[in-house]
Symmetry: C2
Subunit: 398 residues, 2 copies
Amino acid sequence: MPDSPIRKLVPLADKAKEKGKKVFHLNIGQPDLPTPQNAIDAIRNIDRKILEYSPSEGIKSFREKLAAYYHTFNIDVTADDIIITTGGSEAVTFAFLACLDPGDEIIVPEPAYANYTAFAILAGAVIKSIPSKIDEGFALPPVAEFEKLISPRTKGIMICNPNNPTGYLYNRSEMNQIRDLIKKYDLYLFSDEVYREFCYTGAPYISAFHLKGIEQNVVLIDSVSKRYSECGIRIGALITKNKALKKNVMKFCQARLSPPLIGQIAAEASLDNNKEYMHDIYDEYVERRKFLVDGLNRINGVYSPIPMGAFYTVARLPIDDSDKFCAWLLSDFEYENQTIFMAPATGFYTTPGYGKDEVRIAYVLKKEDLATSLKILEEALKVYPGSKVRQIAAATQE
Amino acid sequence: MPDSPIRKLVPLADKAKEKGKKVFHLNIGQPDLPTPQNAIDAIRNIDRKILEYSPSEGIKSFREKLAAYYHTFNIDVTADDIIITTGGSEAVTFAFLACLDPGDEIIVPEPAYANYTAFAILAGAVIKSIPSKIDEGFALPPVAEFEKLISPRTKGIMICNPNNPTGYLYNRSEMNQIRDLIKKYDLYLFSDEVYREFCYTGAPYISAFHLKGIEQNVVLIDSVSKRYSECGIRIGALITKNKALKKNVMKFCQARLSPPLIGQIAAEASLDNNKEYMHDIYDEYVERRKFLVDGLNRINGVYSPIPMGAFYTVARLPIDDSDKFCAWLLSDFEYENQTIFMAPATGFYTTPGYGKDEVRIAYVLKKEDLATSLKILEEALKVYPGSKVRQIAAATQE
């Protein structure tokens, strides 16, 4: 079981805070934007005497509203296809447990959300990864690379679209290539689409459920955490039109009894005002994205592709080792008594050596905080012992 | 993965309700008693703009209050020994995942909480069970039976005390025997003590943490679901003084990010008023227990031992097959347009053949509902095709 690259440095951050240092959290996708007022009101108006179990598959009225929400994205599912889970984390875990036997393999383009590996290990499954490249903007690696990895133990492909951590959004051609692979080898397509509301370029969001002919193979992963700034309520969903699979997933759901009741009430209320809420949120992220990525690319030796969706970017830094640098920022560095907490990208790759000069940065903080964070990063790179900024500067001057 | 014996008949119950039948839920430990007003108030007064992630190990102030609560039971733990989980279910799951490798074995006296098996399967572990007997009041089977099952793969013993489903409360001598086994073979002792507040006979509640010399081996499982009628908020705890184990459990906690935020707020508020709340609740269960067990034993051919704790009893019925009988009650029987939903005890045993004439009954409904339920059971046994009541009656008349 690997440590979480997002959370493993938390003790260092806690120590920095104890010393009175201000720490900007760029490491974790916890937006600073307010949760929808509808959700807060639903909680504050709760009118129950007993906080009882909900159904193992989740509250019916909530599942019905979710189905209607998916219809607005041309995702044709019913309330019966939806199983409410304790966060997207549980949805991925149950998907792997229900679909994979110990020793089975799934193929994942990387960098990828680190906890997929953790959940695969939990299911006894093996992740086979294909690195995508920062210089190609983290586009889908060639299908030939996928086919090389397919073995009799291969049971599925896992994608995240729009992508965490890269912000990449798969285009029609890439999605069709994935569809053809899924069909040809009869694999599961695990598609984590929790960032669907965050697509910034006008390019279409193509859901796995938009792909014709593989409807029975798709396992959609969703969560309200990110879109409604409701990370704490732990509400996600697993969506499948495959009845046999649903039956298996339900066994795991029944074993853990039920998803959180109050979270479901909050999430259901959030859906009532989805369009208006997302409108404001969206504009804010468009601003932050431009501000962060422009700022990063202005720093000597730093490169970030422009993310098309989600609210992360993977940036290349002029450093020896992202794990060391991120730890050093928390333990040894300060700029005007402030520092930044970033996620080393090594944790998002399983291919050894990858991510050593990359970090994941979440642009979930307001512009003012992002501005300070960029300044801190720039100053840190000037003095970090493993920094290559001086070499770059020297080379430029020659 | 087995079906949940508690929830697998839910579709039949739903159908019965759709037909307008009233169904009394004796199958599930969902108390009808009100959640503490403190908890409801804490939710209604929530004053947050963002429902954000909580720490992976749970909110510190909640863990500190929990530690103080355990001290009132002479359980000497600190906030640092406590990890908040998404219900007791997740605590058991993480305990198994962190302590057991695939193929490792744990010994469990049965009948046992059915989902232990599900969580063991999830961890790739194997449950070796020893049946306890209804005619012995479900007392701990002889230690010699445990020793027979110990192999090089045995890593732990799992107990539930007070017991779900039997209501048995282990005495000092039994707990000392368990302690000696744990010590002799250096095993983990997984001790599910979520019903500690429900001990009815004056006999002491002996926690696994009361046993001297095995402090590093104990993994305590707790949950607020049952004691505060808060099953829906999904808040439990895993408690260990073993630092290496805690580190491993934390990896799973970080992968699933955090336990539910609002549930923690409700649970923390419940602790503020624990004593007063439990006082009233306790008296109510004492009444219900006496009423139910007396009523069961008055029905021809039915036998229930008197449970010493928790709020379940396993009763022997004059029937051919508890799975068939419980399904028949929902599908085919009604008494004044009402029926009862019980959990077949077969699901609480892994030893084949056990539990076929036993059911688990939760006395979580008010006395009036229990009275109706008893009447329904009595009438059902008169007409159920697989009933042995007529044979018993005939034998008595001869």
